[in-house]
């Protein structure tokens, strides 16, 4: 019941005219930037993070909550009206959504996505309120070796489970870990990998890394391959749902939310798996199987709900353990750190007001999004026609502004370019970006926990493995790593059996 009181107090903090205005600005800007082609939710949050630098933490996080859900929703608008989405979480939405739009049902596709996002976002945020305290009380009992194990699990999960090539995933992760090493070692005060450059002593700011890899890398990559003709945007009026479409949508929304939240909350989370599962389920359960592949509304409603619920799910490990499981959560974590706040089990004790205000603003942002998006959809659709030279020039412009604003030093712009070129190379060679970001953020944390564990054991390496929690976690890691090997043997055994 305490949590409920805290949440109500959080609502109290948000519902002042000034803070509601901030939430509204966050949602609007987040959606507007998220709609722009080539800008996914993670890049939206990274690009817009610097505009909150001058605010106090509470207001910054109210705006952030709006940007977070706004960016998510903006991405789905793009995939419905333009197809071929930039971010993997919207790929499934585009399957049916774009076909609905082509068949003249863009208004219904956008409406079921908007309302589904609202329903799933609200359910997801409610579950966040219910689940997080339990995760916190579990996490508070964990020691340094357990934390180390959980962080290692996050590393392995993002590299080995997501993405198609493990060696490329590990290459990306290691680059991220090395970037995370740069700066003064906090225990001994020695400079590592700073090359004698004084500005590198504090390390490279995570915002600079994220903006460089996502925004600059993407802009350069697209510039090298810019389509002569921009993709075709389907015109749309005011989104609305008829009675029949409501009837076909509400069950997929609920099922999608049920798929999305748990997958978002586990370390190997992300939205790819739940959106796919939701799509497959809806295709199986639908009464209109003939429409699938031609624009079935269930195929938009379910995955869109799964996408949003999983976004809420990723906040559970992010807030309760300090563990980001996707790129957007990783940048949220960086935002906390830039205010000197460390997410984790102690967050709810130390920054109780701030956290509950953030959660309350998630509810309010979600509601504002629904109110805003239904009437404004035609405006968002216009944003999709923005001439591409201006769009990518604008991305470089805002990326430079944000990176400079972090420390007000021009050297960050050179770092930004260097990271952008790394991001460009990674896109060229098919190296996944997420492991790098996770490595930059969690690497220093992993080292700190590891050294703390060894301090407790007096330098004995057995100190790295703690109690039952770390046994379980390391077994899971072993399973993930050995799985392809095992699968190969199973396949070979089956193949040998077949000819006989």
């Amino acid at each position: 019941m305490d949590n409920l009181m805290d949440l109500l107090a959080g609502f109290g903090n948000v519902v002042t005219p000034a803070n509601l205005l901030i939430a509204l600005v966050g949602v609007t800007v987040g959606t507007a930037v998220g709609v722009l082609p080539g800008i996914g939710p993670a890049m939206t949050v990274a690009l817009l993070l610097p505009i909150t630098y001058g605010m106090d933490p509470t207001q910054a996080f109210i705006m952030f909550a709006g940007i977070f859900y706004g960016g998510m929703y903006g991405g789905s608008t793009t995939s419905i009206l333009l197809n071929t989405p930039g971010e993997s979480s919207s790929v499934i939405t585009a399957l049916e959504g774009n076909r609905m739009a082509k068949a003249g049902r863009a208004a219904q596709a956008l409406a079921t996505a908007a309302i589904g996002s609202f329903v799933a976002g609200t359910i997801g945020t409610l579950l966040l309120v219910l689940v997080t305290p339990a995760v916190v009380s579990f996490a508070i009992s964990l020691g340094a070796p357990d934390f180390l194990a959980i962080i290692v699990l996050a590393f392995i999960a993002v590299t080995a489970v997501l993405g198609s090539s493990r060696v490329r995933g590990f290459a990306s992760l290691l680059l991220g870990l090395v970037i995370g090493l740069i700066g003064i070692d906090l225990v001994t005060g020695q400079q590592r990998l700073t090359l004698g450059i004084p500005q590198l002593a504090d390390g490279i700011d995570v915002v600079v890394v994220a903006v460089g890899i996502f925004a600059v890398g993407e802009a350069l990559w697209v510039a090298a391959h810019l389509r002569r003709k921009a993709g075709e945007v389907i015109p749309v009026g005011q989104p609305w749902l008829g009675r029949k479409d409501w009837g076909r949508s509400w069950k997929p929304w609920l099922r999608g939310a049920a798929f999305g939240f748990p997958f978002g909350a586990i370390p190997a989370g992300g939205a790819e798996i739940p959106t796919f599962l939701s799509y497959v389920t809806e295709r199986k359960l639908t009464k209109h199987p003939e429409e699938f592949g031609k624009g079935a509304i269930e195929g938009v409603a379910g995955p869109e709900a799964a996408n949003n619920a999983s976004a809420a799910g990723t906040l559970v490990p992010m807030l309760a353990i300090g563990l980001p499981t996707n790129a957007t959560a990783a940048i949220m974590l960086a935002a906390f750190q830039s205010y000197g706040i460390q997410p984790g089990p102690l967050l709810f004790e130390r920054e109780s007001t701030l956290v509950w205000t953030l959660i309350a603003s998630l509810f309010i942002g979600n509601l504002l999004l629904l109110v805003l998006n239904l009437p404004l959809a035609p405006v968002w659709a216009k944003l999709l026609r923005i001439p591409r030279p201006y769009l990518y020039a604008g991305i470089l412009f805002f990326a430079s502004m944000g990176a400079y604003a972090v420390n007000a030093q021009a050297i960050d712009l050179f770092l930004l370019l260097l990271l952008g070129l790394i991001g460009f190379g990674m896109r060229r060679f098919g190296l996944p970006v997420l492991p790098l970001i996770i490595g930059v953020i969690l690497g220093p944390m992993a080292e700190r926990q590891g050294r703390m564990a060894l301090q407790l054991s007096g330098g004995d390496l057995s100190g790295l493995i703690g109690g039952p929690v770390s046994y379980v976690v390391y077994s899971v890691i072993a399973l993930i790593l050995l799985w392809p090997l095992a699968r190969r043997y199973v396949r070979r055994a089956q193949r040998e059996r077949l000819p006989a």
């Binding site: 590592r192 391959h225 020039a393 502004m401 021009a410 370019l417 050294r451």
Partner: protein
Amino acid sequence: MTTMNDTAPRSAARDPQGGRSADRAQYGVCAFLALVGIAVIVDTSLLDAVTTTNDPIGPRPVPMLLGALLIVVSVVYAIDVARGGTGEPEGGEDVDLTASMNWRTVLLLVAVFVANALLIDWLGWVISGSLLFWGSAIALGSRRYFLGLAIAITLSLITFYAFAIGLGVNLPAGVLRGIL
């Protein structure tokens, strides 16, 4: 975009004899990873091996481990490439992977970007940011020079007043200090 090729076996990307010429540039990535690994190891070996009872391992083992792992990964990567492995270039709304890489645009963008980094403290954000936007738009193929310049100046003035003066974000006024 759907063609008859869709019926070809999906595993072509992994097949050395699959008709697609191997992507040899990938060896460059392996070399880069190995070089980073060596650099990390060299830098770390120059550190003092400080250990105390509070910190039994000191600052060296973690970077040493990462350097070694980078070298291992670069070798495994090279083996994968030699066996015909390729990474799939990233697609996107505005990406046309069928056309060849347009290096001229990329180099022009890098030049404009560097110019902004060199000029920002002296000229201030409003001027250098305008040049950044205008130059990038032209590099990306915009031919409406005056419109582009107008947008660039408007955008940098708006961001300067809204963020630097309104929200307290760090942006330099440069030579226009006192005028803006």
